[in-house]
Symmetry: C2
Subunit: 212 residues, 2 copies
Amino acid sequence: MGKKDKMDMTKERLLDEAEALFAQKGFDVVTVREITAAAGCNLASINYHFGNKQNLYIEVFRSRWLPRVRRIHEFFTNSLPSQNSCSPAAIVQALARAFLEGPLSDEERQRHFRLIVKEIANPTTAFDHVVTEVMRPFFKELTGMLRSAMPDDQGEEQLMLNILSIFAMVLHFNFARAAITRITGREYDTDFKARLVDHIIKFSLEGLGTSK
Amino acid sequence: MGKKDKMDMTKERLLDEAEALFAQKGFDVVTVREITAAAGCNLASINYHFGNKQNLYIEVFRSRWLPRVRRIHEFFTNSLPSQNSCSPAAIVQALARAFLEGPLSDEERQRHFRLIVKEIANPTTAFDHVVTEVMRPFFKELTGMLRSAMPDDQGEEQLMLNILSIFAMVLHFNFARAAITRITGREYDTDFKARLVDHIIKFSLEGLGTSK
DNA sequence: TTGACATTGAAACAATTGTTTGATACAAAC
DNA sequence: GTTTGTATCAAACAATTGTTTCAATGTCAA
């Protein structure tokens, strides 16, 4: 095994373990000792490969989060019946499915949403990249699609609120797992998750007010 | 001014400033030096009055968060047209109004939701109290009300998901302020907030599927 | 006024944090 | 085989953390 490979392996392991821990506990709670121990490498390796802890965090978003959301977007686009002029129902369904049962594994999805929810709660510099590179463009794309799809033309603000509401539910049911389980007594088993997807799609569609 | 008053003042100030800071930054990021400085008292006062930092956090929930959610609940009950057998629309409207334009000031509300969202994201022992004392009972009450109010009797699970979805939106639009502003470019001014209340009520009602 | 008690204050404490250092191991280039 | 450069390692670093200590202060009861 070449030296280059070994270095890459360490770097990749660090990114993987760091993302998992950051998503689970948040940036400040996780220690570099925790990450390096999980990655099975030396304490100094984070500073060697990434400069400092903050840069590692940024790099997690750049090399893990962004590619993943691009995969989701691709899945969404491919799920649409036709490239332009779909029904609102088709758009919402493709959207919810892409995020909830798209290309991500269950563990991946949980990591993905927990990470971004922490950023939404307390935005850091990482959020700037995410907003400008992914969120704002995707948001514009969606409003454009929905505007031409909705029968009665709603205002820009109404469209915006509708999309935000759909994302609100997708985010909520993913990041509030533990709480929902404790409040309702319902476990997040395969059954319940499938039920959730159906519910979110149905609730969102009705919420749009175009399902009738 | 008596000694007792002064002591109470310090304790109250500590609780106020602690809640504001915990809501803003989260438990681990906030330092006891930050809190005591904001409260204008000595570094040791937290340990003197509350034993340790963790107890202060618990006490914030007991003496600030719980009373506030009881006020909201009272507001909700009083807003209902009649004590039993209301329409789903009336229930949802009273619910959303109680949380979004109820007895809480705007700043209070933001603190309130940011605090509980952090607990939902990463539950501590404080969450146990909240779940058993407030959430689960309120949840049961709501399902009971809605069950008898809904025309077609939906399953327990369906009712549960509907209520969770409403809370998902209430929580989301309160805690994701900064993110929403950055994504959409829309400020959280009086206008927008009023618009939000209307939207959440409408979206939720449609989502319930009983507005037709 | 005196003594007991509760609160505040400044300083120090031990533990943990992210980061830096210099030695070591090792693969590729000459 | 020597040199060069990179990655890893144990150890130490300076800074910050929550907590403790003990003297000083002020209040109320006797």
